[in-house]
């Protein structure tokens, strides 16, 4: 069966003075209809660059390559600019990390929402307006007709983010790529928006690629997870596999750094990960996480570490963890 989106060995290089940033280094991703794939990792790990590469919207001068990048059998690497423009916003919807970079400050919200629909659907003005109102209401914006007349700067960050979500869904895409769609929202609204995405997914069969650094969001919404670090996937599998029994120490350390209510009474201090993400201008030898890893041994810094799979649970580590985390409910 052909996958909706199938990517093999994706690489992105961004030339800078005196070298290049290797932002994505051989990432494999695939997704089926109705599925949620979460990409999680610290700031600077290459999450946004991976998704921008799929949309062919990388920064000027940046170069992408891959062994395969197909969307419903269409080779995205060979698609013309016009062909890509037809798919973008229609078959593949995108919620950008920075709402202000994709909302035009000179046009009203209504103008921008309707324009997407009219361009791809050849719909009339009235139909586009009805659709825009329908979607604003769907994402929990009361008084939608009034909001249509407002400009982006007149909205709070949370409202702007919801407008972006509405815009990405105007044409009912096959795939929605959502880059930190809830990071500007507070905790209660975040839960409401995630419910909304889930509902749309079951109703319309949309596949969602959700990019975030929030492990809580991932654990509660993902079918499959890819943990990325320094432009590589270090661990991948179902949410239950990756968070229930994390094998890569990076995943385990990220989990340890999450504040969890009730933890203080257990007198557990938050475990911070020492050090920072490595510079992406160099090539590293061995495991990218070795410099910050408490389990690292000399061979971790010298040997190429392949991604090995056990029952579909992949991890790239020579000395993997084995401890189970959350009480597995099955059988209790």
């Amino acid at each position: 069966m052909t996958k909706l989106l199938d990517i093999k060995n994706l690489r992105v290089e961004i030339p800078i003075q005196g070298g290049a940033v290797h932002a994505v280094r051989g990432v494999d991703l695939s997704i089926d209809r109705g599925e949620t794939l979460c990409i999680v990792g610290e700031s600077g790990s290459g999450k946004s660059m991976s998704s921008l590469a799929v949309m062919n919207l990388l920064p000027k001068g940046a170069h992408r390559s891959a062994d395969r990048m197909s969307f419903l059998g269409t080779d995205l690497l060979r698609l013309s600019h016009r062909g890509m423009a037809r798919i973008r916003g229609d078959r593949i919807g995108m919620i950008f990390q920075e709402p202000m970079t994709s909302l035009n400050p000179a046009y009203t919200i209504g103008n921008q929402l309707q324009e997407v629909y009219r361009r791809h659907r050849r719909a009339g003005r009235a139909a586009a307006r009805d659709r825009a109102i329908e979607l604003l209401e769907l994402v929990g914006i009361p008084n939608a007709p009034l909001r249509l007349r407002q400009y982006p700067h007149q909205l709070s960050g949370g409202l702007r983010q919801r407008v972006m979500i509405a815009m990405s869904l105007m044409c009912e895409p096959d795939i929605l790529i959502a880059d930190e769609p809830t990071s500007a929202l507070d905790v209660t609204v975040q839960v409401q928006i995630l419910h909304l995405l889930k509902d749309l997914q079951t109703k319309l069969g949309i596949a969602v690629i959700l990019i975030t650094h929030d492990l809580g969001v991932v654990a509660r919404t993902a079918d499959r997870v890819a943990v990325v670090y320094a432009g590589q996937i270090l661990e991948t599998g179902t949410a239950r596999q990756v968070f229930g029994t994390p094998r890569h120490p990076y995943t385990a350390r990220l989990l340890d750094s999450m504040p969890i209510p009730g933890m203080m009474r257990l007198r557990r201090k938050l475990q911070a990960i020492p050090g920072t993400v490595p510079s992406l201008t160099n090539d590293f030898q061995g495991c990218a996480f070795a410099a910050r890893c408490d389990r690292a041994r000399p061979e971790c810094r010298t040997t190429e570490v392949p991604l090995v799979r056990e029952d579909g649970h992949g991890f790239a580590c020579l000395h993997p963890e084995t401890e189970a985390r959350f009480a597995q409910k099955a059988g209790v």
Binding site: G158, V191, M258, P261
Partner: protein, 348 residues
């Protein structure tokens, strides 16, 4: 002018838990703030009630958390506590003295802010070391060598490596910049820090570093704090007491641990359930908040939370609840104590 605690010694000799000597260092009594929004041509202006009759106190050596959703008035309270904005009603006292009567320079020395985005508040042309020395220069504290010594000691204390002391803000990561902002806030040995979402812009791994740093500073220096966040999971790590705000009011306040174990207000329960722990066995929580969103220009009658409340009765629509004392917490809810078991009391 010389400062007594110039050598970074704790403000109190004993560890933090004993230094909360139950006298308020900072207190807000009945503060309110309403903004007037112009309606544009020919339209009448409307009133936005950002803060409505809020009372809070912070004891010496203690951290008071403020939690609540976006737009509920947390930052407005912070600006008022910092003396950056005047309340329409109510009073703030610092160590018993009305802040309105404290000279501007003295107030800004004794109450220091730490904001969400340190990048916008750090001067890009000042090195890290100069950034921390700057307030000491402005307030003419000590002489040049002693200012330099103090700044280095603070930078060391917040965990910045020596080699970064001469770096500029754009050469640091977000977490490192927040450390600089904290060191700068501590430079003048303030009575209290007002931290407005200091970790919201950071990765979890970096957030953990900053929260641990704040815990260490509390223990070692005994400095009092107000700590604002929308995440109760974060608040739990730093606050002794917490005030839950909703639409401009404090709807529940109490000792952090007790409040998290026994949240009494339906909104506090929703906030606690919204903390998404990375447990793959749990799906998304069902918050039961309905589909209406709070609007500070149009505050509902009766209990302002009632349109979103799954427990509401006719009383809730008609009359505003008075604060009630339950299990040591103060709760503004007609039904407090009668909501039944919380679905999500944190487990021991």
């Amino acid at each position: 002018m010389a400062l007594p605690a110039f050598t970074l010694k704790p403000k109190h000799d004993s560890p933090r838990k004993q230094v909360c000597d139950m006298t308020a260092i900072l207190e807000a009594k009945g503060i309110s703030r309403t903004y007037t929004l112009s309606g544009g041509m020919m339209k009448k202006s409307s009133k936005l009630q950002a803060v409505r009759d809020v009372s809070l106190y912070v004891n010496r050596g203690e951290t008071c958390g403020i939690v609540g959703e976006s737009g509920c008035g947390k930052s407005t309270v912070a600006r008022i506590l910092l003396g950056l904005e005047q309340p329409d009603a109510g009073q703030i006292t610092l160590d018993g003295q009305a802040i309105a009567s404290i000279p501007r320079a003295e107030l800004s020395r004794r109450v220091q802010p730490v904001f969400q985005d340190p990048y916008s508040t750090l001067n890009p042309r000042r090195s890290i070391l100069e950034t921390v020395i700057h307030p000491l220069n402005v307030h003419k504290v000590g002489d040049a060598p002693s200012r330099d010594r103090r700044a280095r000691k603070l930078l060391d204390q917040v965990g910045l490596p020596k080699r970064s002391f001469h770096a500029f803000p754009n050469q640091l990561s977000g977490g490192q910049r927040q450390r600089v902002a904290i060191a700068r806030a501590l430079a003048l040995d303030p009575d209290i820090l007002v931290c407005d979402e200091p970790t919201s812009a950071l990765d979890v791994s970096i957030q953990a570093q900053i929260l641990n740093l704040i815990q260490d500073l509390q223990r070692d220096l005994g400095v009092a704090m107000v700590f604002i966040s929308h995440n109760l999971g974060v608040i739990e790590h730093v606050a002794d007491r917490v005030a839950v705000m909703y639409l401009g009011r404090v709807v529940e306040t109490g000792e952090t641990r007790k409040l998290m174990q026994r949240p009494e207000h339906p909104y506090t329960r929703a906030l606690l359930e919204s903390v998404l722990t990375p447990d793959p066995e749990l799906g998304l929580p069902d918050l039961d908040l309905g589909r209406s969103f709070p609007d500070p220009t149009n505050i509902p009658s009766g209990c302002s939370f009632h349109p979103r409340c799954a427990f509401r009765t006719s009383v809730c629509e008609d009359s505003a609840p008075e604060p009630r004392q339950i299990h040591g917490a103060s709760v503004e809810c007609h039904l407090a104590g009668n909501l039944g078991e919380n679905r999500l009391a944190t487990v021991d």
